[in-house]
Amino acid sequence: MKNRVHVLRAEKRWTQAELAERLNVSRQTINALETEKYDPSLQLAFSIARLFDKPMEEIFLFEADGAPPAHS
């Protein structure tokens, strides 16, 4: 799944560690999210949306909305 976490974090001028602390996750998890190697749980996705004060659809892009994922 594509996401805009990296861009939104840069806009706030937070480090990965700062964002991790605000979301109560590890820095490793923020990195995995930003590099789009890990899709967050629904609960974490809601926390991210709430923290950046944006609707979920503006942060996460479901691949079916764009090109279909290669593996399906």
Binding site: V25, S26, T29, N31, S41, L44
Partner: protein, 135 residues
């Protein structure tokens, strides 16, 4: 209820790592001391006590790991649980196969505590591989 502020996942990991090193150092000291005492003493019932003494720091490690996993975030927990599942499966397969080789093919006996070593090595190695996937 716990009134202490909840450790962040990163702080929980550092805490676990520190406990792990202290406990394993204690384990090393106890192992060396117990082996020495058992070699330089007459057999007696207190040898049972000496033999199980090094397991105490390992109980502490298990407890620390449990605490860490309850404070870890979803990705950390997933990586560890996946690595532990692989370690459990591989260890079960290896010990079962070697047990049969011992019984039926006459291979030399390996002490049971090797199970602990194998599970830790496979767990650590699998965790490293899985963690790199998310980097």
């Amino acid at each position: 209820m716990n009134t202490k502020p909840r450790l962040s996942p990163d702080a929980a990991y550092r805490h676990y790592n520190r406990n792990l090193w202290v406990a394993m150092s204690l384990y090393t000291v106890l192992i060396l001391a117990c082996v020495y005492l058992i070699k330089h003493s007459n057999p007696g019932p207190w040898r049972y006590l000496l033999a199980v003494l090094p397991a105490l720091p390992v109980i502490w490690v298990m407890w620390s790991l449990y605490k860490f996993l309850t404070r870890a975030d979803e990705l950390q927990r997933r990586l560890h649980l996946e690595a532990l599942s692989v370690a459990a499966g591989v260890t079960a397969l290896l010990t079962l196969t070697y047990g049969f080789l011992e019984d039926f093919a006459g291979l030399p006996h390996i002490p049971a505590w090797w199970t602990f070593v194998v599970i830790d090595i496979v767990w650590g190695a699998t965790h490293c591989v899985l963690r790199n996937r998310y980097k």
